[in-house]
Amino acid sequence: MTSTEGTRVSRRKLFGLAGAGVALAGAGAAAGIGIDKAASSAEASVNTVGFHGEHQAGIVTPAQANLHFAALDVTTKDREKLRQLLKTWTDAARRMTAGQEVVANGAVGSGDYAPPGDTGEALDLPASNLTLTIGFGPSLFDGRFGLAGKRPPQLIDLPLFPKDKLDPARSGGDLCIQACADDPQVAVHAVRNLVRLGFGVTEVRWSQLGFGRSSSTSRAQQTPRNLFGFKDGTNNIKSEDTDILRDQVWAEAGDGPAWMTGGSYLVARRIRMHIETWDRETLDGQQKIIGRTKGTGAPLGQTAEFDELDLNVGGAGGEKVIPEDAHVRLASHQALNGVRILRRGYNFVDGSDGVGHLEAGLFFLAFNRDTRKQYVPMQQALSSKDAMMEYVQHTGSAHFAVPPGVSETGYWGEGLFA
C-alpha cells in the first residue's frame, strides 16, 4: 500500500456531524497530507492533525480529550519482521490519522469470504484529531535485535521511587503506542488495528484508557481538572513555548545517539488516586496539599490562575502560604533548578478495586529531554515529600524513547533500524 492510494472513504460520510469535539482552529492542527486528495478540505483541516514532521504528533499537539495507550512486547526474534511491522504501522497511522480506514475500503470491501481489513468501528467517525505516537522501551535494546549498542543513555531503567507499588502487569514494554483523539472510539480503533497488524510480531503487554485530558498543552486550551477536582497543567509547558520545548523536551544532536535527534523521552506512570479519602479532606486541607485554590486554580497567595507561583509568600505565624510539602511547590521549576517536563495526563476509572472503591486515578504521561535530569529528580522529591502522596499510589511505570517524526516516505524508528 502506498500513501497515496485509496479513495474518498466512508469515514468521512458524517464529517462535521458526528459530535467530535471541535478543535481550535490554528492550535497547531494541520491538514492531513497527501493521502486522500479529496480530503484536503477546510473541514478536514480542523479535524485532522498532520502526521509528518520534525517531531512526532501527539506531544505538543493540543491535548485531545481521550487516550488509548498500549505497551507491547515483541514476540518475534526476527529483526526484519519487526522493521517491516514498523513500516506497516506507519502507513496505517498515516491513513487513520487522516480519517481513513486502515486499508482502503477495508471494513466492507474486502470480499464476503475474507475477514474485513478494517475493524469498522470508526467507519462513520471523522479523524477526530487522532494522533499516533510510538516509543521504544529499554527492553527492546536487550540484544535480541542487535540494538544493544543503540540504546540511548537517557533511556534508563527507572529507579524504584519511595512508596511505589508497581504491578508488573502494568509496567514496562518493548514498544508503546499512544493514541489520542477527540473521540474515544477513534483512539481505540487505531490501537486495535495496529495491534491486529502486529500479531505474530508483537503482543499487548498492558493498555490504558484515559478520558478528560488532565493537562493542557496549549494556551488556547482551558486548563482541565483531574479527579481530585483541581485544575491540572496550569504551569505545564505549552506548545507555544518553543524555547522551553527546545531546552526541556526535544533531544538535540549530541544528546545521545543520532537516531533520537528530534525525539523525546516518555515516562508513563499509572497513578491510583485514593479519591474516597481525598473527598473526606477539608477544602482548606485539599488546597494546602495542592498549593492552589480549587475554584480558580490560582496559586495560594495569588489571585488568578496564571499568576506566577511565589513560593515565599508568608502567612499566619510565619508559615509559608504554600506549605513546604505542597505539590506545586515540590513540582515547580523554582524548586527543581529550572527543570520542567511536558505533561499529557489523562484521568481513568478502571472499574472498582474489589473492596468497594472506584479504581480511579491519573494516567501520567510526561515528555522530557533527559529523564535522568528531569523526571527522576522531580519524582524523587515528590515521592518523598509531597503531601499528596497520602492520597496517591503509583501502580504502573514505563519509560520509552520516542523517536523523531517521520517524513512522507519514511517510517517510525527508521533511524534506529537503518
Partner: protein, 383 residues
C-alpha cells in the same frame, strides 16, 4: 506509616504544658492540690473478674485512685464521663503492680469507673458520682479547652505506656530472645498507632520510628519498628539489630518528651480522628503496614482506639452542636469494633494473611461508613 492531616497546622510548642495525669506509682508528690478532696486516695482492687472501688462518690476537684492489679492479666483503669469520654486512664498495669491516677474532675455529675483485664472490651464498669464543683460551662472555648486537655491526658497515658513497652521490647531484641520479642512486637506498637497523628507532628522522628521498607527514600537508613519487624519475622536478628533497637528506644523517648510540649487544638483532634481512619483504609486494610509480621489488625484496632479517643474528648462539643452526628459515629464505631472483635485470637488478633477477601471487603466497607461522618467532625467543631 504516617497520618499527615494534623501536621498542617503550625506547631505551637509550649514549654511546660504539663500533662495532668501522673502515672508512675512511685510518684508520690501528687500535685499542687495534694490529696483528693474525698480524704485520701480511692483504692481500686482490680482482678480478672472484678473491679472493686473503695468509694463511689467524691467531691469535685483532684481525685486520686490507687489501682492494684491482683489478677493474672495486664489491666487498665479508666474514669469515664458520660458517653465514655475519658477523664483519666492508666494503661498497662501488670499483675501485682500498684499504679496511681490523679485526675481533675471539675464538674459534678455521673461518671463511671472501669477496669479492663486483658486490656480489651468495655471493661468492668461501676457508677461513680461527683458532687459540688462548678456548674457545666456552656462556653464553646471552655469546651474546646476541656476537649484538648482530655486528649492531652490520653496522649500522655499512651506515650508513657509506649516508652515502657518499647523498653521491654528492645531488651528482648538485645537479649536475642526472638520469640519473646515477636510476641511483644504488635502489642508494643499499639501505643504508637493510637497516637500516630501526634507522632506525625515531629517531622523526622515519625519516619525514624515507623518507616516502612517500601517507603524508604534514597540514602535513608531503614530503622525503627519495621526494621526490627523484618529482622524478627523474616531475616532473623541481624548483627546491627541491637543498635537499631537502642536507636528505637532513644527516638521513642525523644518523642515522648516532645509530646509533653505539644499544644493541640480541637481541630487537630477532629482531623486526627479522621486521619487515623484514612490510615486504616489505605494501609491497614491492604496489609501493607505489617508486611513481615502480618499483625495489621493490632494496628487497625489501635488506630480505631486513637480515633475514638479524640472523638470522646470532643464529645461534649459535638453533642451540643450535632447530636445526630454523635449517634451516627457511635453506631459506626460499634460496627467497626464488632468486626474487629470477630477476628480476635488469644490476646490479640488473627493475622492479616488469615483474612478472606470477603472479610477484607467487609472491613473496608465499615471503615468507609465510619470515615464519612468522621470527616464532618472538623466543620462542626470549627463552627
Amino acid at each position: 506509616m504516617t497520618v499527615r492531616n494534623i501536621r498542617r497546622t503550625p506547631l505551637a510548642l509550649l514549654a511546660g504544658a504539663t500533662a495532668l495525669v501522673a502515672l508512675a506509682a512511685c510518684d508520690s508528690k501528687g500535685d499542687a492540690a495534694g490529696a483528693a478532696a474525698a480524704g485520701g486516695p480511692i483504692k481500686v482492687s482490680a482482678s480478672d473478674t472484678a473491679c472493686d472501688v473503695s468509694a463511689t462518690t467524691a467531691n469535685a476537684g483532684n481525685l486520686t485512685f490507687e489501682i492494684t492489679n491482683e489478677g493474672t492479666k495486664v489491666t487498665e483503669f479508666y474514669l469515664y464521663a458520660e458517653g465514655d469520654r475519658i477523664m483519666g486512664e492508666v494503661e498497662n498495669i501488670a499483675p501485682g503492680l500498684n499504679r496511681r491516677l490523679i485526675v481533675e474532675v471539675a464538674d459534678a455529675g455521673k461518671y463511671q469507673t472501669a477496669c479492663k483485664p486483658g486490656m480489651a472490651g468495655t471493661g468492668i464498669r461501676g457508677e461513680f458520682t461527683v458532687t459540688g464543683g462548678a456548674p457545666q460551662q456552656g462556653d464553646a472555648n471552655a469546651q474546646k479547652a476541656q476537649a484538648t486537655k482530655s486528649y492531652d491526658d490520653y496522649i500522655a497515658n499512651n506515650t508513657a505506656a509506649l516508652e515502657e513497652e518499647t523498653a521491654k521490647f528492645v531488651d528482648l531484641v538485645k537479649a536475642g530472645k526472638a520469640d519473646e520479642a515477636k510476641a511483644a512486637y504488635a502489642r508494643t506498637r499499639v501505643y504508637y498507632e493510637r497516637i500516630e497523628p501526634v507522632a506525625e507532628k515531629f517531622g523526622e522522628l515519625d519516619p525514624a520510628i515507623d518507616v516502612r521498607e517500601a517507603d524508604l527514600e534514597q540514602g535513608q537508613q531503614f530503622t525503627g519498628f519495621h526494621r526490627l519487624e523484618k529482622d524478627l519475622f523474616k531475616t532473623g536478628l541481624q548483627a546491627d539489630s541491637p543498635q537499631i533497637a537502642d536507636k528505637l528506644l532513644t527516638d521513642v523517648k525523644d518523642l515522648v518528651a516532645k509530646t509533653k510540649t505539644l499544644q493541640l487544638t480541637a481541630l487537630d483532634l477532629a482531623n486526627g480522628a479522621k486521619g487515623l481512619l484514612d490510615e486504616v483504609a489505605t494501609h491497614k486494610i491492604t496489609g501493607e503496614e505489617e508486611t513481615f509480621s502480618h499483625t495489621d489488625l493490632w494496628d487497625f484496632q489501635a488506630n480505631v482506639d486513637g480515633s475514638k479517643g479524640a472523638i470522646t474528648s470532643l464529645r461534649p462539643i459535638l453533642q451540643a452542636k450535632d447530636p445526630a452526628l454523635v449517634s451516627t459515629l457511635d453506631k459506626e464505631f460499634a460496627n467497626v469494633q464488632g468486626l474487629l472483635d470477630k477476628q480476635r485470637a488469644g490476646d490479640g488478633f488473627k493475622l492479616y494473611t488469615d483474612l478472606s477477601q470477603d472479610q477484607v471487603k467487609e472491613f473496608a466497607s465499615a471503615v468507609d461508613a465510619l470515615s464519612e461522618p468522621l470527616s464532618k467532625v472538623a466543620e462542626v467543631v470549627s463552627k
